[in-house]
Symmetry: C3
Subunit: 254 residues, 3 copies
């Protein structure tokens, strides 16, 4: 029943690959490129024009690209000047504002709200309801759990923004709030509901409001007594080291 072509609006300047499928009720604006194998769900907007569109008769929509084999679930709104890499997958009703970039194989859960000019690396997973303030910088293999918020204004209101930076393999627990300018370093773990007001060193677990250091993640054990972290040694589903092992994969990267 999907992809019946009902009520679709596609700009003549959009380029849609032959194997891409566009859901009913979706709108594809000017200068959007949709690569091979992409699925756009129903009632999506791709290449949403920016604010000046409403006032400026000469507005030209900047280029937008949806990488190959991406899946954009229904009711999502992706602004113009967004670039998402191959294998991107998102839930329903996400919003991604202009100037934002995602690397390959990222996921963004239902209701995710990504503000302008975000830079995300490869293989990052953002669960449902995440809010990323403008300019947030996220490395590779970062895992962000539901309803996390990352901020950018230290002394509000202000035009002088201090975005958050999250490094490779870090994890941010559900409901956590990462305050402006904070750097969460590689392999760090922020506990659920934490309010992070200071930088978090690598391999460090912090919890609470304000968040405090509680342990080195390398001392955390699974129920069977084996080490829980660094997590890439025990979790590979959907990761490039799946079936290969993390060390072997790293060796191959060099």
């Amino acid at each position: 029943m999907k992809f019946t072509g009902r009520n679709i609006s596609v700009s003549p300047t959009a380029k849609i690959a032959d194997s891409a499928r566009i859901g009913d009720g979706s709108t594809i604006y000017d200068n959007v490129v949709i690569d091979e194998g992409v699925v756009i769900g129903n009632d999506c907007v791709i290449g949403e024009p920016q604010s000046s569109y409403y006032e400026n008769a000469d507005y030209v929509n900047p280029a937008t690209r949806i990488g190959c084999d991406s899946l954009i679930r229904s009711h999502s709104i992706i602004y113009s000047d967004v670039n998402v890499g191959a294998g991107f997958s998102c839930g329903h009703r996400v919003t991604i504002r202009e100037g934002s970039r995602f690397g390959v194989h990222c996921r963004l859960g239902t209701n995710g709200d990504v503000q302008a000019n975000i830079e995300v690396g490869d293989h990052c997973w953002f669960h449902s309801g995440v809010f990323l303030a403008a300019g947030t910088v996220v490395g590779d293999f970062v895992l962000v759990y539901p309803h996390v918020i990352m901020l950018d204004d230290k002394m509000p209101p202000s035009r002088d923004l201090h975005p958050v930076t999250i490094s490779d393999y870090a994890q941010i627990g559900a409901g956590a709030c990462v305050t402006p300018g904070v750097k969460v370093k590689s392999h760090a773990l922020v506990g659920s509901g934490a309010v992070v007001t200071k930088d978090v060193a690598e391999y460090t677990c912090v919890v609470g409001n304000p968040a405090k250091h509680v342990k080195d993640v390398r001392d955390m054990k699974l129920e069977d007594g084996s080490p829980a972290y660094p997590w890439p040694y025990r979790f590979d589903r959907g990761m490039p080291w799946e079936g290969l092992g993390f060390d072997e994969w790293k060796r191959q990267q060099k």
Copy 2:
């Protein structure tokens, strides 16, 4: 102006009762049953196909049922293999993933995000913006206030999930975060903004981050000095003991 039949798409295998009304722009997928008296708002999706639909040409949509007299407000997405009981009512833009079950007379507020395989009893009310992780188990007469999140992964990332369990008559305050595996027992009260990391005993009120026991709810008084809890003795609007009294109703249940 509603229910004009404009732009509705209904699968030939869907069964829609004569007295049900379907809003403009809504889509009803294969193998959905909509019972008598149901109202579906505009731009809803009922029986949304699961992920394998996108790759599998032989995909068969599992059965979905919307119980009689339910009201599904606009822009909501209910996946296939969901079963909501009679008198269900939801706000706008809720998402309910596959395998989830709601008993009779439940409510789910605007923007609610229910993941897969949730089990909810009867007469539970979830206010706006609630997130329930996969596998969450909720009893009867549970009241969950706005923007609560309930989680499932103790040592992320992991495939070994530990869902939350909430027992009958418990209440979870707005903005609270219930961490994986936690059991909140009968008549307990979790304060607004609490981060619950341990089980909460019955009739217990907890607050803070991490949440700590502050009192027995049976010691909490209303402004007029009368006992506030257990709440069914003083609140009956929309409950089956309305106009009857909680004790009398319980007697009739036996």
Copy 3:
């Protein structure tokens, strides 16, 4: 590509100014007034009927007004009996329930969820994902950051509500929870992630869970050593004292 008139439904009793533009797929219900210069995005609902509409054949939709030059972004739902002043601007998918009032030049971010009977003054900015419980009262020039929740039920469940009151120039940090009945006074600053359980005095900064007084905002400095607060002396973008100075503007108000 916008405003092509595709699939729009407008009640014969709605009054739409000549210069207003209505996006594709939007529905304008009975007794809505849309003033000059308004832009309604795609797939919006303006004047959404209230609950009794579903049962009552004689339902008459109360009047709704969208003030001049307002911008309502796509997928937003504004109930009947809402009145938003001139220059209102909102993100995508906001919901504003019946009986709510906004003054002039207010902003409400993406996914904002405004319950019934809210009173908001002029020039208030609510960022993404804010939840305002029924009856919340907000003054002028109030700044509310992402994912803030404001509540109304002190001893739940209850029919006796205690809404929050926020006074002029106050700021509520991202992810904060303001519990029922709390008054946040003029120029106060609530920190990110705070759970506010008591009134906050004017010019006071509170943080934590529960929120505690940490300093007078007038003692807070910017990086260059100049005072950060009261903020109207250093921030004027979009404010009526832009280019004029706060003192001069106040003088002109008298």
